[in-house]
């Protein structure tokens, strides 16, 4: 079965299982009345309706629907997750399943928990869920006049598609080993403008990357390939680097650049996980060389929570040990150095810089 048969319901024939008295010639209604009827449909009813024919889609598009948050992701199966920004606890999820061959597709599932309600519309993947789901997302964006807000590039074949379909996007997540070279990464970063959060899993490369990454927040797992210029020349507010190979001297450079106030002006929170052979004293000596930090006073108004993205908030307790650097514009940079374990030879440390302003 191809996409036309699977999703473009315009090809389906009426099976005539309902008696005439249960039928309703919807399209013969006056347009205003027809639109009022359609307005009463749920999100997961509008979508199949609008897929029935070109005329049905045109009708569905005449209504000014509330904008949808569209998340295109891979969570064990391909999923298109939809929600209204006005009602974030209610989700409509289109799933592509392969495992339940005996089920009658498509079918609906309703799930309710204490905090949220999910309506699932389950489709058989028909052997090519990637293409089917792309077409479905294009259709939903068109009908609801809403852009994709969250996108998981879970396969290289999605890179060109998203660059062509929607080159500006709010949040992007790339899981481990989807990107296999710096060239591919460069193509993504130069052609896809990520406005909020960019999460990148491990990539297979021996090369280094020197360009800044433009998103407001950037989280990189196995960030050994990223270089100091990428960070210093960027405009990021949140930077989270796991498994970095930055040295204490690199961290010192970051702090100096931040305090000079020309670069890293948007920085709110930086976390870099590094490994070092240096003991605590030598490590801090190198990190704070020529900086003269001041010891922190507790309870002076430093925020204890930092919002990394829509779902993750990092907590920096009041009891944490830290020192402060003051920038000429009054911004305070609180620097935290946490011990994060060792492998017998190397010591793992979590270096954090939280930028904040004392409230009057």
């Amino acid at each position: 079965m191809n996409f036309q048969e699977a999703l473009d319901f315009s090809g389906l024939q009426i099976q005539k299982q309902y008696p005439k008295k249960h039928k309703f010639p919807l399209l013969k209604l006056p347009k205003v009345v027809l639109l009022e009827c359609i307005e009463n449909l749920d999100v997961l009813e509008i979508i199949p309706f609008s897929l029935l024919s070109k005329r049905a889609k045109t009708i569905a598009k005449l209504i000014c629907w509330s904008p949808l948050d569209i998340c295109f992701r891979f969570n064990r199966t391909l999923q298109i997750c939809l929600k209204l920004s006005t009602d974030p606890d209610r989700k409509w999820i289109i799933n592509y399943k392969t495992n339940y061959k005996t089920e009658k597709y498509p079918y609906y599932i309703f799930e309710k928990s204490d905090s949220s309600v999910s309506h699932h519309f389950v489709l058989n993947d028909n052997g090519n869920p990637a293409e089917d789901s792309k077409r479905m997302v294009e259709h939903i964006c068109d009908v609801f006049r809403s852009p994709i807000s969250d996108f998981h590039i879970f396969d290289e074949s999605f890179i060109e598609w998203i660059i062509n379909f929607q080159p500006i996007i709010r949040n992007v997540l790339i899981p481990n080993y989807v990107v296999r070279s710096i060239e591919t990464l460069d193509r993504i970063l130069k052609n896809l403008k990520v406005t909020e959060n960019f999460h990148l899993g491990s990539i297979k490369t021996d090369e280094k990357y020197t360009e800044p990454i433009s998103s407001r927040s950037v989280t990189i797992k196995d960030s050994f390939w990223i270089t100091l210029p990428s960070i210093i020349n960027g405009t990021n507010s949140i930077i989270y680097l796991y498994n970095s190979i930055f040295t204490p001297n690199d961290l010192n450079t970051i702090l100096k650049e931040w305090r000079m106030g020309i670069k890293l002006r948007n920085l709110e929170f930086l976390v870099i996980n590094i490994s070092t052979m240096l003991d605590w004293g030598r490590f801090t000596d190198e990190v704070f060389k020529d900086l003269n930090p001041t010891e922190s006073n507790k309870n002076v108004g430093r925020p204890t929570k930092v919002k990394i993205d829509d779902e993750i908030t990092y907590t920096l307790g009041e009891e944490e040990e830290y020192v402060n650097l003051i920038r000429s514009d009054g911004m305070i940079g609180s620097v935290f150095n946490e011990y994060a374990g060792n492998d017998g030879e190397k010591i793992f440390r979590r270096f954090m810089l939280q930028v904040w302003r004392r409230q009057p």
Binding site: F9, S10, G11, L12, Q13, I14, Q15, K16, Q17, Y18, K20, K21, H22, K23, F24, P25, L26, L27, K28, L29, P30, V32, V33, E36, C37, I38, E39, N40, L41, D42, E45, P48, F49, L51, L52, S53, K54, R55, A56, K104, P106, Y107, Y108
Partner: protein
């Protein structure tokens, strides 16, 4: 709630036998008007009940009929079937002077009548009843598969739409050609 009687024509309707009853009789005598549908059966309805219909309400506001004049001149709705008009009149009487509940249990349950009811309600501009009817129409496809939605709402396929469009164009062409030929014949 409303009373009906077979009329002979819109100009000379039969006298309805009983007036609508109300639990609490109004202090000021209520005015009544008369409507009939395709079947010429005349329904006597209070002005209060008819206020639901923006169309009739507008007509009444402009007429200033006396009771006698109203009896002699029922509003004719030749495009509405008698049983549908009866449903509408019943609904207007049931909801006279009352706030309409969020879920209306008084809506007609027969799906085969729903289409005609929606058209009538839309024509008579009864906003709240139209809202209920439209919800009822949407409810018809609740939890239904795309194939079922297509069948219930009788949505043609693209191929069927294209064929219908071709047919309509062909028919329009033939009609135009016929008119041209007739005009040429007249000219001769």
């Amino acid at each position: 709630m409303s009373s009906t009687e077979q009329g002979t024509s819109s100009a000379a309707p039969a006298e309805p036998t009983t007036a609508p009853e109300s639990a609490a009789a109004p202090e000021v005598p209520e005015s009544f008007y008369y409507v009939h549908g395709k079947d010429k059966v005349v329904h006597k309805v209070s002005a209060g009940a008819l206020q639901h219909s923006a169309l009739i309400h507008g007509m009444i506001s402009n007429l200033g009929y006396t009771e006698e004049q109203a009896k002699a001149n029922p509003f004719p709705f030749e495009n509405i079937d008698g049983d549908i008009l009866q449903m509408v009149v019943d609904w207007c009487n049931q909801h006279k002077g009352k706030p309409t509940p969020p879920e209306d249990t008084n809506l007609p349950k027969q799906k085969e009548k729903l289409f005609d009811l929606v058209l009538a309600v839309n024509y008579l501009e009864i906003k709240e009843l139209l809202t209920y009817c439209c919800k009822q129409v949407a409810m018809m496809v609740k939890g239904k598969s795309p194939e079922e939605i297509r069948e219930i709402w009788m949505i043609p396929t693209d191929a069927e739409d294209e064929a219908a469009e071709k047919e309509a164009k062909k028919r329009a062409g033939k009609e135009a050609a016929g008119e041209t030929a007739a005009a040429a014949g007249d000219a001769k």
